[in-house]
Structure formats: C-alpha cells, structure tokens
Subunit: 553 residues, 2 copies
C-alpha cells in the first residue's frame, strides 16, 4: 500500500491494538493470493492510481469492459442475457481486491459469497427465462455501518464491530431486487468525518493519494473511483455521500430523509432524531441514481419501516417542466460562496465556467443566490449532531480502548456541542425550526428551482483537514435533497492559483485558505452540487440532467 497511508494511524490501548490487528489481518487474508499486487507495483505507485487496475494485468479485457459499465447498462445486459451475474461480480470483485490494496477502501471482502449468490441468480434466469428483479445480478458495494447478514459491520468504533445477524431493510430489499453483495466499505471513526479513517486504516483518494476520498462514505468513493463497484450505498447526515462523491468525481444523491430505508443501520446514538441520516446511491452515471431510487421505492420500503414517508417517485422529463412546450425556463440559482468560507480556486473556476455556460443557454435563467446565515445554520447543526455533548462517542472510545482521532475531537468540540437537558434540546430544535422557516422563505423569494454551488469549499483536500462541512451540512439541516456530479475538469496547479484575498470572511475562511496547496492537489476531480427544496428530489434529478448537459456542452 502507498506509504502515504501511514501518515497517521488509528491507535488505542493494547487490547485495541490486538483486536485491530486481528480485523486488519482478517481483511488482508480475505484478498485471494492470486489478486495480491506484487511489490514491484506497490512500491512504485503514482499519485494517481486509477490506472493500476487496468495495467496490473489481473483482469481480462472482457472483465475490464464489464467494469467500465454503469449499473443501468449492467442490468440491461444481464436482463438481455448478454452478461451473467457470475462474470459480472467476478470482474468487479477482482477489481475491488485491487482497489483495496491501492486505497484501503474495504472492511470486508467476500467475493465467494457474491459468486454463490450470482450463480443462483444465473440459474434462476436460465430456468425462468427472466430476471428475479430489476437489479438482477448487479454487484452493489455497501458501507460498513449498513448490515448485511453474516458480514462484518460497525457503528464507527472498534467497540461496535460485529458480524451482522440480519440484513437491514436496505440490504434485504436490494437482495430481493436481485443485487449481489461482495464487499463492504470503509468509513471513519464516529462516521462523522469528511474523511475515512477507521480501525481498518485510512482510505486514500485514488485520483491523488495525497488526498482524502472524503467521508464518511469514503470507502465507497475510493472503490468506485477505481471501478471496483458499479454502484455503492452510502449515508449522508452532513455531506457523507456528496462529499466523497465530489472528492472522487462520482455521481451521488442525498435524498430527502425518510424517503429511503435506513432502519437497522448501525449508529451509536440510537433514538437521536435531531438530524436524520439519509441514504442513497453513489455511482458512475446520473441515470444510475434514478435507477437505484426508483427500484428501492417501488419495493415499498415503508411497509418495513413505519417511520418512512411513502412518497411516490417518478422523475419527470425535463421537457415536461421547462422549455418551449412549457414557456418556462429552468431557474438555476448560483451561489459562488456561502458568505463564510471562500471556495478554493479550482472550485471557483468550475463555478464561473458553469455560470457562464448556463447564462448563455436559452433553457436556463441564472439567478444570483445570496446565502442566508450559513454560519448560524452550521452552528445549529453541529450542536444538533451531538445533543449529549459527545458523551456517547467518549463512551464508545472508552469501551474499545480506542484513541480519539483529531477530527473526532473536532466534531465534539465543547464550544460547538453541549450535554443538553430536555429544555436545552427543545430550545435547540426550536432554533432549527425557525431557521428552516426563514431559509424556506428566503429560497422562495429568490425564485429559483434549484441551486448550484460547491459541494465543499474546495476539491479533495489533504488528509485530516476537512473541518468546514457547511456547503453540504446546511442542506441536511434544511433536509433539502442534493446531488453532486463531475464537471469533467480537474485541479490544475498551473491555473488554480490562490490569490491574495481582500478580506478574510471568518476564521473558518482563513483556515480553508491555509489548507490549499494546488501542487499537492493536482488531478483532483471537480464536482458541483445541485440542491432543490425538501421533497423536490424528482425535479432535482430532471434539473441535474439539464445543468450537466449545458455545462459539459
């Protein structure tokens, strides 16, 4: 594995070290000998390791071709009998084994089990002449804290690492729809960093291993960047799908909460409902986001989980909403910065490019969107995350003999969290409601359908430096759905130069400037984020299609 991985490591007491070593060696042994990269490759890795899976020679040309497909294409080919489930999961499994050695993206590898599942599906297909469900044979990677029966899982700490007794609702539904499981992916201690550093190690960004793949679904994003999976399931309570997808040049959506199944996901604050987590796909194409959500919703997950909202799902065609036949343009708000932290130069470059292309299009009306108190909103959500002042985290750390990582200390920083009583919690939640109402009015007054902005005040950053989540987390506070997508451009040190700034907007802004290093960030993909109002998920995907097409034209 690349030496950068050894920058810092998760540590603990003697008992922790023993157990951590066992988990790591179990994982290392799960990678078949035949798929272990030779020292000649591992000792000479480039910063950008995304080419290794193709160049290492472990996959046949046919297998490489399979792993270049998106989920929609895979499902179509399998349903048409042009591809088997076994050859599909084999190809992705091999590539995932390589990805693990390049980026430390996995926590569990069980290709044998995936192949066995795939065999049954292939037999069903041969016997019945049809697929078992819309995801028949699709390999899907799953984030660590999302249980799959019989596989390893954790709620963000060594103390809650376990072998799952049952599928959670999501994996049970995906299995029923025909999906094949073969890997689980890394997440950070607490599952509350935009970084992915756990007892299993630190996940690296395959586009530039200096950088983090983001988090908390960073095992997924690294795996997907290496095409070791066509589609992964992540969770997002503050940016944990959008941030890693952004950092790795992928597509991802955080749906409105309670519209997708999350029951059974592991966490260490059961019953905390102040900020609900959302769950959704991380993938290689825009259409895969729609595929995933539509088939999961069609499985009526609300029958399994009464906390869910049975909203119908149907993404309208853009032309039914905007354009000649409707006499209405898509109104895209553009927010260059949030009034608190200025994005880094590559992100500003992408935003300006997007803005000018959108402004030049006659399909779109561009609106300058003024942010509304993002500093206050970020304060509110940080406090809401840990209404107990971080006691549950400290308890989990203690129980596992696990040392607190720097970003863990940062998220439960006393100035931002308190151990509340009932009155304090109600007052805090009331602040949330007031903020949501004010932002809703602000948005309606702006007149925009969707809002285009950076997903983070920069592209993928150096390890352990991601502290300012407000570009994503503000939308978790508001529960507005958000999608991220690649612009196709990357960080270029020759043009993405940090210029002296007239005014530092905030301490967080000063910090954000201090972590920029164009040379070190070379090649990082640049994604943008598109937001809609709460429950506007379907319209959001329609708008994303239009915006991406125009930006990339």
């Amino acid at each position: 594995m690349a030496t950068k991985m050894l920058l810092t490591i998760a540590t603990g007491n003697a008992s922790y070290d023993t157990k951590a070593a066992q988990l790591k060696s179990r994982l290392a042994e799960q990678i078949p000998t035949s798929l272990r990269l030779p020292a000649s490759i591992l000792s000479n890795l480039p910063l950008d390791v995304t080419g290794i899976p193709a160049s290492c020679g472990f996959l046949s040309p046919e297998e490489l071709a399979i792993t270049e497909l998106d989920a929609t294409a895979i499902c179509e080919k399998i349903a048409a009998g042009k591809l088997t489930a076994v050859e599909t999961v084999t190809a992705f499994g091999k590539r995932a084994a390589i990805a693990q050695q390049l980026s430390c993206c996995l926590v569990d590898f069980f290709l044998d089990e995936g192949i066995a599942q795939a065999k049954e599906l292939d037999e069903y297909f041969r016997r019945e002449g049809k697929v078992i469900g819309p995801l028949h044979g699709l390999p899907i990677s799953i984030k660590d804290h999302i249980p799959i029966k019989g596989r390893w899982a954790s709620g963000g700490f060594l103390a809650n690492v376990e072998v799952s007794k049952e599928d959670c609702d999501m994996t049970s539904i995906l299995r029923r729809l025909g999906a094949v499981f073969y890997v689980k992916t890394n997440q950070p201690q607490t599952i509350m960093h935009l970084e992915s550093h756990s007892v299993y190690g630190r996940t690296l960004n395959p586009h530039n291993t200096n950088l983090t793949p983001g988090g908390s679904s960073g095992g997924e994003s690294a795996l997907l960047a290496l095409k070791g999976s066509p589609l992964g399931v992540g969770t997002d309570g503050g940016g944990s799908i959008r941030n890693p997808c952004s950092n790795c040049g992928l597509y991802g959506i955080r749906p409105t909460t309670s519209t997708m199944p999350t029951r059974g996901y592991l966490f260490y604050q059961p019953g905390c409902d102040a900020v609900l987590t959302s769950t959704g796909p991380m993938c290689q194409s825009a259409r895969d986001m729609n595929l995933f959500i539509s088939v999961v919703r069609s499985a009526q997950p609300f029958l399994l989980d009464p906390s869910m909202i049975p909203m119908p799902w149907s993404v309208p065609s853009p032309s039914s909403l905007w354009g000649a036949s409707t006499g209405r343009k898509l109104r895209v708000g553009v927010m260059v910065h949030d009034g608190v932290v200025m994005p880094h130069p590559p992100m500003l470059r992408a935003l300006e490019l997007a803005k000018s292309k959108l402004a030049a299009s006659d399909e779109v009306e561009v609106i300058d969107f003024k942010p509304y108190q993002h500093d206050i909103g970020y304060d509110i959500i940080r406090e809401l995350y840990f209404e107990d002042g971080g006691n549950a985290i400290r308890m989990m750390l203690k129980e596992g003999g696990e040392n607190s990582l720097p970003l863990t200390d940062w998220v439960i920083l006393p100035s931002h969290t308190k151990d509340h009583d009932a009155a304090g919690m109600w007052a805090l939640r009331y602040r949330k409601e007031v903020f949501r109402k004010a932002y809703s009015d602000h948005w309606l007054a702006s007149g925009c359908d969707v809002l285009l902005l950076a997903p983070f005040p920069g592209c993928a950053n150096m390890h352990d430096t991601a502290r300012y989540w407000a570009y994503t987390a503000i939308w978790n506070l508001l529960d507005y759905p958000g999608v991220v997508f690649p612009t196709g451009i990357k960080v270029d040190p020759s043009i993405d130069v940090l210029h002296p700034q007239d005014e530092v907007m905030s301490p967080a802004d000063a910090y954000n400037r201090s972590i920029y290093d164009a040379d070190a960030m070379i090649g990082a993909p640049i994604n943008l984020q598109l937001i809609a109002r709460r429950f506007g998920d379907e319209m959001l995907l329609a708008a994303q299609e239009v915006v991406e097409r125009i930006i990339k034209a």
Copy 2:
C-alpha cells in the same frame, strides 16, 4: 349558565383571580345584550340543552335552517348565490352566543368582525360573479391556541393568554380560501386533558351537562353540538379531536402529522418534537372532513411551513378499492377492548352492533384484531409528552399564579414522566421507534385495511374523570390517522347496565369501571373510531363511508 358548571373552578392567586375575572367579563360582555338568554331559561335548563337554540326564539326559522346545514351544503349554496355570507355568519354567530351561555364553549366572540369579513365577501361575489375560494363565506370556529390576527389566544395557561399579532398558517390559509372567523373556543389548562376546563371556565357537554364534552378541543365539540358552528378546527396530540367529537356525536379526523399546517399554534414546549400534534376538522358530516382537508392541502401549506410533507390528496371512491369490480372486500379489523381497559356497556353495545352488521355485509371481511401492548404504548407516549418531567407546565403555572387542575397533576405524574437528559430522551425515542415497528408488523400480519374500535373506553364521562387516553393516544404514538363518527345510538340506562366482571384487567380498568354511571350518562351519543396505517388518510375516509353506511343500514 347551568349550575353544574360550578362543580370546580380554575383558581390561582390574587393576581390570577383578577386577570381571570377580566378575561371572563370581557367574554361575557362580548355577547350582545339582545342574545343573552333570560333567567327563566337559564334557571330551568334540562340536562340536554341541544334544543334550547331552537326553542329560545332568538333565531328566525330561516336562520335555524341555515344552522342545520353542513359545511359542504353551505359552500354550495353560497357559491350558487342562494345564501349570503352575511346571513350565514349571522345565523351561526347568534347560535354560538346561545351556545356559550349553555356550555361555556368560547374564549372569544367577535361576530361584528365576522359580519364585516362576510360583507366584503358578499361584495366580491356580487362584483366578480364568483366565489373568492372554495370556503367562500363559510363560518369556521377556531380552537383557542390557533391564532387569528387580533383575536384572543392562549397556549393553555393564563400566563400565555395574548392577543395574536398574526394569523397562523392555518387561519391565514382558511381566510384566503374564503372562511369567516367569528369565535374562538375553549380548551383545558395545558391543552392536555380530555376535558376543557380553563381560565375561561369549564365547558359542558350539551347532550348532557353532567358530562364533559371531552378535550382538549372541547369548546369546539360543545359549540358544534349546539350547531353554533358548521365546522371547527381542532388539534389532536393524544385524542384531542377524536375524543371531543366522540363525546358530542360529531365527525372528526386526526390526519397523519405534518400533512396539515400547524405552524404558529401556541404551545408551551416549543421545539418538543417527540409527539407532533395533528390538526383537522370537527364537523357535522363525513363529507365535510374531506372538503376541509382537500381545500387546505390544495393551498400548498408546505410552502409556508417547510416541516410539512407535500403529500398529494385525493379520496378514492370506495368502489374503486373494494367490491365487485375489484374482487376485493374491505377488511375491517374489530378490536372490542385493548387488553388493558374494558369499554363501558354502551360502547360495547355499539361495537357489537357494528361488528354484527359488518359481518353480515358482503362488502366487508371482519377480522378479530388483537391489540399489541397498548399498556406499554400508553406508557411510552405519556413519558414522551413531557420529556422535561412537566417543568414547562410548572413554570407556566407559576408565572400565571395559576393552580394546577387535577387532570394536570395527573398528566405529569412523576411515575409517568421524568426530567430527561439527552441520553434519556434518545433512549425514550428509541423505545418509540421500536414500538412503532413492532406495531406495524403486527398490523400487517392482521391483514386489515382499517381498524374499528372505541374512541375511549366509554362515551362522554363525568367531569374530571378522563384519565385513560390509550384508545386514541396509541394512534398518536404510531401516527396512524383516525376518524370518529356517530353511530346514531345513545346511552340508554335501561340496557347499558354494568355487569360484574370476571377479571379486572388492570388498575386502569378498575378505575374505568368506577367512573361508569349509566343514569348520569343518559343520552350521551355513541361514536366509533376507525384507524388506518400512517399516511392512509385517503383510504381511511373511503372506508369510513362504507363502514358508516353498513352500520346505519
């Protein structure tokens, strides 16, 4: 006013007494001299006062006829130019003034304002030749804690009595739809009793003034029972729409929470989101429930309140769901008792009658529904109501110099509530989620579409005795929509005899037996309750139509 009203009264310190006297005398003076009932009537009131509005001679035959109409008929007649808004609100206003003197149902009377609003509507109709909205000219009564700009309101205590600066979302929407406001109605101290005893006095049940009209929307139910309003807006966090509608022989629905606007309603625990309140219509006909919900939803209240869920609304015709064309019967679960408290004889009589008629119908399949841990569910929701152990209540009482009423002491009883910290609140909310999941599975396994049961373990009860809310509150815990409707039968002491019981199911059961007195309860209407799963509101109304028709056939 009837002497029964003086049983017990709300009391406090000298400052409280002064302010309470001012509020009461303000209200008394708001009733025009011309509408004050003479001592000859007031000193000779029968137990059942529902005949007085017609017999007292204050309303013309035309006015009486108007007050016999339901909301749907009123809207139709006004839209057809057959009735004016002014004559409509005048008729209901006069009758409301009488109702107040018979039942102490109001907290504010402002017929002049209603007439002025109605005049503008009539002028609009003459000028434009059309209605301003679907509720054009409909008088609507409003519960005390639901603000109307410029009118009196309170959050359940003297300390939060105020004149509202603004309409809340609900009244703003209703006003926009054409509704006319003229009265606000009484609710109990804390707004958390199935009783309506406040600083304004104790509301009586017009069908039998020995009895409570229920609560907490008991001012509404008493007013509606006297036809001083065609439709009222209540709130229901534990039964506060369904209980008073039941006690007074009315129709009422508690919709699934977050589907109807509640923003701006007064309460004393802002930010407490453990059990959300629901809001809905209390009315004279089943079709009025649908009218009210459909027009309020069509006004897109979620644009005003981002905490709302923008669910579509369309009640299907029963024949599209069940019957010959579908090959499917309506499956009605029947639950005779909840395993904790046995309903009183009249309620059991109504349930048995309903069950036998439903069983005889070929439209319906009757399913014996077994209750699932209603005792535990009731414990959970009681604790959830007051996660601060009642501190906010004690603070409000202290601030107003107000003495705690017996049912207030009861709801915050230390054995049932605790002052929780964050960990305690999370644990409690987690118990709620686990219970909801278990109940959902239990319901699905039963196979029923809707569940028929008592709305309370008895009909209207004697004042200050309603302690066991679980027949309604369990559905608040689950957030299942519930509708109540009159069976058309009433308490008859000659047949509704309490028989010796083989087994007392619980202390609550023993208590419930002890509060039964058929002679004292004579003439109390008997309603039944129909429940659907969360978000099944539209199907519920379709099923209610079928069930009521069969029961009354």
